[in-house]
């Protein structure tokens, strides 16, 4: 199976983009080996929140990832540090990657989509 990498850069909260990017990843999982990488402001999507009144409940959205057998969920360690994201706050099991390792993920992919 070809490898698709999804780079997630949009912050959690204001727009429907986080949800629409997740939809794209789920669609990808049927045809490809998919990896999700959260970086920049995108790491804020990984922080669990108790209030999801306006946008769709993200706890549920992220749970779907494992239902679709998407296990390669990564985040940029530098971006997580910048945004004070702590391990115990994570909404889903995700592994931290160095910027270099992220670069390697990009190189090894068949295609990369940015959100």
């Amino acid at each position: 199976m070809k490898r698709l990498v999804f780079l997630i850069q949009t912050p959690m909260g204001a727009s429907v983009e986080p949800q629409e990017s997740l939809d794209a990843v789920l669609a990808g999982s049927a045809f490809a080996n998919c990896a999700l990488i959260f970086l920049g402001l995108g790491v804020t999507q990984l922080r669990r929140s108790e209030r999801s009144d306006f946008r769709k409940d993200f706890n549920r959205g992220f749970r779907a990832l494992s239902d679709f057998e998407i296990d390669d969920i990564f985040y940029c360690e530098a971006a997580a540090r910048d945004h004070g994201l702590l391990d115990h706050e994570l909404i889903v099991e995700a592994r931290s990657l160095s910027p270099n390792a992220i670069r390697q993920q990009i190189i090894d992919a068949h295609a990369v989509m940015s959100f």
């Binding site: 912050p11 959690m12 909260g13 204001a14 922080r47 669990r48 108790e50 209030r51 009144d53």
Partner: protein
């Protein structure tokens, strides 16, 4: 008193020069990601919208910053001489 509202991250710094003594700053929407940057803006009253913090799973760290309900936001806007939205 001018109420300065911010709704985007990363723009607080660009507009801090327009703040005056006794003004109020309120972070809403994605600007709440910048709440730690409020610490140094001692010239103004500093507020962050509670609901928007909660939606993003964030908690305030500094005692100098106050959380504001939407009801309190309305009261603050009514008390302000002018309400400005920066982005």
């Amino acid at each position: 008193m001018i109420l300065h509202q911010f709704n985007q991250p990363g723009v607080l710094d660009r507009h801090r020069q327009y703040l005056g003594k006794g003004d109020a700053i309120l972070l809403i929407e994605n600007a709440v990601f910048d709440h730690v940057l409020l610490d140094e803006l001692e010239v103004a009253e500093r507020y962050v919208l509670t609901t928007d913090l909660e939606r993003r799973g964030l908690m305030l760290k500094s005692q100098a910053i106050q959380k504001l309900s939407v009801t309190e936001w309305v009261a603050l806007a009514a008390r302000a001489q002018q309400c400005i939205s920066w982005s």
